[in-house]
């Protein structure tokens, strides 16, 4: 069974969002890291890049395949978790501690389109 944290928002492409004021921390869910297996590389955007809800902003690479990261919200990247460049396995170890980017949201209403923990649990049907 995959871990799902209460209080976070989830996208259909398995990213999670933690809201801190007008800033959204974005990572991938425990379910997603399990599906991908051993993560070996995180392709990060740069601080200052624009991201758009529903569009790709980077990628996670496992041994077997690359998976696009899809931004759940629109805005500007204000921080990237550069530590993941050297320790991509941190995503496997604790998917909810390993945030990938922080986005200053330009349209907080994007959050309304996301699922809460209960809806996400139903969505992954485990």
């Amino acid at each position: 069974m995959s871990k799902i944290l209460e209080g976070l928002k989830y996208s259909e492409s398995h990213e999670w969002v933690k809201v801190e004021g007008n800033v959204a921390l974005v990572g991938v869910s425990d379910y997603a890291q399990k599906e991908m297996g051993d993560i070996t590389y995180v392709d990060l955007p740069e601080e200052g890049d624009d991201v758009i809800a529903g569009e790709e902003f980077g990628a996670l690479e496992s041994v077997k395949a690359a998976s696009d990261l899809i931004s759940p919200v629109s805005g500007v990247v204000v921080a990237v978790n550069a530590a993941l460049e050297d320790t991509p396995e941190a995503v496997n170890e604790d998917a909810y501690a390993a945030w990938i980017i922080k986005v200053e949201m330009s349209n907080p209403a994007d959050l309304d389109a996301l699922m809460d923990a209960a809806a996400y649990k139903a969505y992954i049907k485990e």
Partner: protein
């Protein structure tokens, strides 16, 4: 029309182990159990086992079996003694590859076994039947009746001897086999593999295969899926049909000329000789890039100015070497060692250079 997926005799064993299952070559196969990295390292450092029961086994028998196989096979089996195994390809007249395969010369006179790729069994059997007209041979596609386990790694010999009791294993050289029995049924004990390590492939009945798997598992041999089978064979510089060999990619283009005996006649010989003489557009190379980003099948190989000169066929961040490397099919003029080339990965371009295709130093028993 969706084709019904087949299962191997070990399907229930995989499900019981919690394997991640996925369709491959028309079969529902285990991709991984504990994880690709762990399984990969088990084979490199200790011993792992693979269910390769999906592979095809075709027996060729008869007074003209040797002459016939030599006609369809790029290798030369004349003079090969019973108990020897030879790797090579079957080609179309234009040099394109029908399949790569192993040819076993059996201990009975005029008996041979061809081991072919699972995805190609039907195509290969039809091709072989078609070419056999005029030869006195009998063909038997035994693929569904035979299970196969590959036991691979530096401790493979120990496992085969101690767990299964086959002391014969100690005397087998690489690419030879012997016939033993398991519960009164024939078992082909072959010192071959697809990992770059020492190891054995065991062919026997489906029923025996299930029992042997269980015994090896209980003795601590690590079950390994197709995920690490691909990372292992890739590091060892071994081609996968469909990626590095195909009707469009000849053995010469793939850098496998050493398995094509051009001094004898066989289907595709003239086209391959022409390619070997330099008349070919593309060649398979190894490329190493200076980054942890991973070149994948289909990604473009570029020059500094962005001109595309090739395409990646297989790529990984190598588990054993901690480098991002790939096989790529490139225009011949860019195939020399150390040629600087670039790979497009998503929106970025990464510099690299042409390196030898055998990325990992293999550890075969001579």
């Amino acid at each position: 029309m969706e084709e019904q997926l087949k299962t191997t005799c070990l399907y229930n064993a995989h499900v019981a182990l919690g394997a991640k299952m996925s369709p491959f070559a028309g079969f529902m196969m285990p991709i991984q159990y504990s994880g690709i990295v762990e399984e990969h390292l088990a084979v490199r450092q200790h011993v792992g086992m693979f269910d390769v029961s999906h592979m095809g086994e075709i027996f060729v028998k008869g007074p003209q079996a040797e002459a016939f196989i030599n006609h369809i096979f790029t290798g030369d089996i004349r003079g090969y003694e019973p108990g020897k195994v030879l790797y090579g390809m079957m080609c179309y007249p234009d040099g394109g590859t029908v399949d790569d395969l192993l040819v076993y010369r059996e201990y009975l006179a005029d008996h041979f076994l061809l081991v072919v790729n699972a995805a190609n069994v039907d195509k290969d059997f039809a091709w072989i039947q078609e070419q056999s007209k005029g030869y006195e041979v009998r063909l038997d596609n035994a693929s569904d009746r035979i299970g196969q386990i590959a036991v691979q790694g530096p401790e493979a010999e120990k496992a085969v001897i101690e767990v299964l009791g086959y002391k014969e294993a100690a005397d087998l050289a690489f690419y030879t086999f012997c016939d033993v029995e398991y519960k009164g049924e024939r078992l082909i004990l072959s010192r071959t593999g697809y990992t770059g390590e020492d190891g054995f492939e065991l062919y026997t009945t489906n029923e025996n295969t299930v029992e042997i798997w269980d015994r090896l598992l209980k003795a601590g041999v690590v079950p390994c899926g197709l995920g690490c089978r691909d990372t292992l064979r890739f590091e060892a510089g071994l081609p996968l049909y469909g990626d590095e060999l195909s009707p469009e990619i000849s053995p010469v283009m793939a850098g496998l000329s050493m398995f094509c005996k051009l001094e004898k006649d066989f289907i595709g010989r003239d086209a391959l000789a022409d390619q070997k003489a330099g008349n070919l557009a593309r060649k398979l190379v190894g490329i190493e890039i200076e980054d942890k980003a991973i070149p994948r099948n289909g990604y473009p190989v570029l020059l500094e100015d962005g001109t595309q000169v090739g395409v990646v066929t297989t790529g990984y961040h190598s588990i054993s070497l901690d480098k991002s490397i790939c096989f790529a099919l490139v225009n011949k003029e860019y195939s020399a060692l150390d040629t600087p080339l670039y790979i497009g990965i998503r929106k970025k371009t990464f510099p690299g250079k042409v390196v030898k295709k055998r990325f990992y130093q293999t550890n075969y028993k001579k």
